[in-house]
């Protein structure tokens, strides 16, 4: 057994986290910053963080992930990292020539109390930021929240810095996309296009973290939300913020700054969350829903009704990030599956309320937990108490899946051992169809591999 020391006796833990269902803030800030065109993420801390975060994103996308670091030494850690950051800004603009440097912090620079705002202001005052170039900053202390919090903080920094309100009203809708894949960002834009809603998507990692092989490398790929687009967001009709944890702070900041009203909705994962997204888009863009979208929806419902016998009553364990797994468990309930065990390392009181609302009627036996010690060790212990038919989560779930001989669907961050997840969406009706396909594949593969020979079926 890979996880041979995990037993079914759940013992209350207050201090030890084992096999976390989260990671720390800066990687989220780095990911968000990569979704802005011409932007180089910068990690203000010791260089280990930056290497780890770049590696994690690279392993997930099989793509280059660029970021620079202040490379703190012990001296800087005691006396402050201002000189390191100022030197870094000089070096980055001269050597790597980005349009924007997006600085985030780490537990090191936060603990010593480096004030990023003050240092960046000083860089400006000292003339270290070339004309037309930008340095933005977001504090991302690793000892608060999770990687999702870091994403939220960096997204907020962008909308605080770039959007401007002018007299010109723009017939466009802001879409704050939450932490989803580049393929999902592309899908969100496709849907908005189908709806004939002009949209600005921030951030947008498509064409950044899924670039084609051309025989040459570009440090700043063609994708990413442009400065002009970000500036224009202040004149948009409204904002749709997808995923409370990742985007609500930014939506509020943009409303405060430019009086752009917002609607906060779930990431459109599954049937009903996508319904809400389509309705929000229809309302925000003042457009009707085109027939082709209704048809996509119909194909999804058709697939579910056709395959219902394989879903009904099946027990599922889910782990991941709150914005992504809440609509997912809602979808699982709509499939008549039973998401019985749910953990997310990311804290936030809203989780319990939202999970209860989804689960209380149809899956009253469900156990769910988020925040401290809501880790994969706990989820595995629950599984050992009573098994499940399916596990959904990031790559680390494969160790449990193998030990417990349970079908496993990879969703979330990071996925390190499969390719394709960054090319195909999981949002929208088409994404939901893909999720259903993945679930069926995983469950049918197990049946085909383990059922008695006389029970092997040609068809389903």
């Amino acid at each position: 057994m890979l996880l041979r020391h995990t037993t079914d006796k759940v013992k209350e833990r207050n201090a030890l986290t084992v096999n976390p269902a989260k990671t720390c803030q800066p990687v989220g800030a780095m990911y968000a910053a990569l979704g802005v065109h011409g932007c180089l993420p910068h990690s203000h801390g010791s260089q280990g963080c930056c290497s780890y975060h770049r590696s994690a994103l690279t392993r997930h996308y099989k793509e280059p992930v660029m970021a620079s670091t202040s490379s703190f030494t012990e001296g800087a850690s005691v006396f402050g990292g201002q000189a390191n950051l100022l030197t870094a800004i000089d070096n980055i603009f001269q050597i790597y020539e980005p349009e924007i440097i997006a600085v985030h912090s780490t537990c090191l620079s936060e603990t010593i109390g480096d004030d990023l705002g003050q240092i960046v202001a000083k860089a400006g005052d000292d003339g270290r930021i070339p004309a037309g170039k930008h340095v933005i900053q977001a504090p991302t202390p690793s000892y608060v929240g999770s990687h999702v919090t870091g994403y939220a903080n960096m997204l907020e920094a962008f909308v605080k810095y770039f959007p401007e309100k002018t007299d010109e009203k723009k017939r466009q809708v802001n879409l704050l996309s939450g932490w989803v894949e580049p393929s999902d960002m592309r899908e969100l834009r496709r849907i908005a296009g189908q709806m004939k809603v002009k949209s600005v998507l921030l951030p947008d990692t498509s064409d950044v973290l899924d670039t084609p092989m051309t025989g040459s490398y570009s440090m700043y790929p063609k994708g990413g939300t442009t400065i002009a687009e970000m500036v224009s967001m202040g004149d948009s009709m409204s904002t749709i913020a997808m995923g409370e944890w990742a985007t609500q702070k930014a939506a509020i900041a943009l409303d405060n700054k430019c009086k752009v009203p917002f609607e906060s909705i779930d990431i459109p994962v599954g049937l009903r969350a996508t319904d809400r997204f389509i309705q929000a888009l229809s309302k925000a863009g003042k457009v009707s829903v085109p027939e082709e979208i209704t048809a996509e929806r119909g194909r999804l419902v058709d697939m579910i009704t056709d395959m219902h016998q394989y879903f009904y009553g099946k027990r599922v364990a889910v782990f991941g990030d709150p914005d992504n797994i809440l609509p997912l468990i809602e979808f699982l309930v709509d499939l008549d599956m039973k998401p019985v065990y749910i953990v997310s390392g990311t804290p936030g009181k809203a989780f319990t309320k939202k999970a209860e609302a989804i689960l209380s009627e149809r899956v009253p036996e469900a156990k769910f937990k988020n925040g401290p010690q809501a880790d994969m060790f706990l989820m595995h212990q629950w599984i050992k108490e009573e098994g499940v038919d399916l596990i959904i989560g990031n790559t680390y779930g494969k160790y449990i899946a193998r030990d417990e001989q349970t079908p496993f669907v990879r969703m979330g961050f990071p996925i390190l051992d499969r390719q394709g997840h960054n090319y195909f969406p999981t949002v929208g009706y088409m994404g939901a169809i893909r999720i259903v396909e993945k679930i069926l594949d995983a469950m049918m593969d197990k049946i085909d591999a383990t059922c008695p020979e006389e029970k092997v079926e040609l068809q389903m």
């Binding site: 084992v18 260089q47 280990g48 490379s71 608060v144 401290p372």
Partner: protein, 544 residues
């Protein structure tokens, strides 16, 4: 797609490339990078600037002290619960990301490698201190996992807020009755992973080594230092030792247990594979216990054969020598058959490598066996001795960034010191056998090859443009950057999930991997066929 160059008549002088690289830098940066890039001449002594602080904003590939300590040295030991004291990231990123394989003897033997343990510090732990939570976490870990040993790893904020992990370890050791010790491996210490190696070495020496005086288990007892069993590398070496009748007491630390490290001091010989990460323990063990050490290299078939013979030579036993010779002859025959088939397909190809602190040198032996030319190489975090050889150690200045890494005062253990081994060493040295010696990478590299310490992204771009290599060896952060240029990249940290590459089987694996990478046609299919044809302007477009 870049065009490939032919260097059969010697390597070009890269001085112009160096100038171009430096021209982009601010003056102060250029001055420093100038000294970190050496146009190699194996005939003369050259000095390289290494193990100095990283230039902020330069896009280094380096990691931190915590990574060097927990990730590299302690991570591969399966029966120790390694608790990371800090916010969650450090624990998460070192969770199974290095491919240290391990093989417990039974289904029930301890194996904590698939787990990661953290105190998951929150803001209140930063404000009020994290010692209480750390103690609680250790108690919880003890109750849940019942390990024989627990280690604590400090991350950046721990040193800053003044948590005393060593005091906590002492207290918990007394309370729980198991070995418990801490590491002050905060990420900001030193300038790279290297400081973490040193810190790990010190604590292993203080808390584990020599704690079990167990009786001899074999006629020829050795330890393998600095081999982490990436992709099963150590398994290959273990199998050969077993066949030859050499008792491998302990490996630091691939496929290892804390238990085995406790009696490592009863060995007759230490073999150092990765000089950078473990030479400290080799030195300390010799001072305290009189165990001599030799540098070995099991990467490359000829190197592995040489290393095996060197061990046999040390013991001077006819039976052992005969066994080793038989193994080498048998295995080399297999290796040669594959090598002869593959070499003509890859000979003359051009490679460069930038890897941690030892492999950029070790793998040159494998490339040499295939006739692949290494035109440029360097380390992330090696010191001058790894580049220039141990003879320069007395001249290395310890700068302010490294001064706070503790150097232990090691004294001779009068009771357990092996005078017999010291005498044997003296005798063998008379006969020309080399101990405690590592000549470094630069003397092994060709004239005009470019040696670069702490290579950064800008330099990588320029290197590719200049050399147009057939193969680039580095890590995950570089891999997809380099491949976008149409140049295949072989990861020499994680072997692209392949391996093993040590010893004879490993050499065969590597040759076959080189054939796969250098023989593939996909790089020639990068350009779409219509890119090579005149553009057809549409006249029959469908109306939108």
């Amino acid at each position: 797609m870049v065009k490939k160059k032919d260097y059969t008549n010697g390597l070009p002088d890269p001085s112009k490339l160096k100038e171009e690289i430096l021209a982009k830098y601010p003056r102060k940066v250029a001055r420093k990078r100038d000294k970190a890039m050496v146009v190699n001449d194996p005939g003369v002594d050259q000095e390289i600037l290494a193990n100095v602080r990283t230039i902020p904003g330069i896009i280094t590939q380096r990691g931190c002290t915590y990574a060097g300590c927990k990730g590299v040295v302690l991570g591969p030991t399966r029966d120790i619960v390694n608790i990371v004291h800090g916010p969650i990231g450090c624990s998460f990123y070192a969770w199974l990301t290095r491919r240290n394989q391990t093989r417990p003897a039974t289904e029930t033997d301890a194996n904590y490698i698939p787990y990661t343990f953290s105190t998951d510090m929150q803001d209140e732990n930063i404000v009020f201190g994290g010692e209480v939570k750390l103690k609680e976490a250790i108690r919880e870990a003890y109750e849940l996992f019942n390990p024989g040993a627990i280690a604590i790893f400090s991350t950046c904020p721990v040193g800053l807020i003044g948590d005393d992990v060593h005091a906590v370890a002492r207290e918990m050791k007394a309370e729980l009755g198991i070995n418990c010790f801490g590491f002050s491996c905060e990420g900001y210490r030193g300038v790279s992973q290297s400081a973490g190696h040193h810190i790990a070495n010190n604590q292993l020496y203080k808390h584990i080594l020599g704690t079990d005086d167990r009786a001899r288990m074999g006629k020829f007892q050795v330890n393998l230092l600095g081999e982490y069993n990436i992709g099963g590398d150590a398994f290959e070496i273990e199998a050969l030792f077993e066949e030859a009748g050499i008792t491998l007491l302990s490996t630091f630390s691939g496929n290892s247990t804390v238990e085995s490290m406790a009696y490592a001091h009863t060995a007759d010989l230490n073999m150092v594979m990765c000089h950078r990460s473990i030479n400290y323990i080799a030195e300390m063990m010799e001072t305290k216990f009189g165990i001599p050490w030799i540098k070995v290299n099991f990467v490359g078939a000829k190197s592995a054969a040489k290393s095996l013979k060197k061990i046999a030579e040390f013991f001077g036993d006819a039976e052992l020598t005969a066994k080793v010779d038989a193994i080498v002859a048998r295995e080399m025959a297999k290796v040669e058959a594959v090598r002869e088939a593959i070499k003509p397909k890859v000979e003359g190809k051009v490679a460069m490598m930038f890897v941690g602190g030892s492999r950029a040198h070790h793998y040159q032996d494998l490339f040499g066996e295939l006739g692949i030319q290494v035109v440029s190489a360097g380390y992330e975090f090696a010191h001058r001795d790894d580049y220039e050889g141990r003879k320069v150690i007395p001249n290395i200045k310890i700068d302010a960034d490294t001064r706070n890494i503790e150097d232990l005062d090691v004294e001779k253990d009068d009771v357990r010191f092996r005078n017999d081994l010291a005498a044997k060493k003296a005798e063998l040295m008379e006969a020309g056998y080399k101990f405690s010696d590592y000549e470094g990478m630069m003397p092994d590299m060709k004239k005009n090859s470019l040696v670069i310490d702490d290579v950064n992204h800008w330099e990588t771009e320029k290197l590719i443009e200049f050399y147009q290599p057939d193969l680039f060896c580095a890590g995950i952060k570089e891999k997809y950057v380099v491949q976008k240029y149409g140049v295949p990249l072989k990861q020499l940290h994680n072997y692209d999930y392949g391996g093993p590459y040590t010893c004879f089987e490993g050499a065969i694996n590597f040759y076959q991997e080189m054939q796969r990478m250098l023989d593939t046609k996909i790089w020639k299919l990068v350009d779409a066929p219509w890119k090579r044809e005149p553009e057809i302007v549409g006249s029959m477009t469908i109306e939108a």
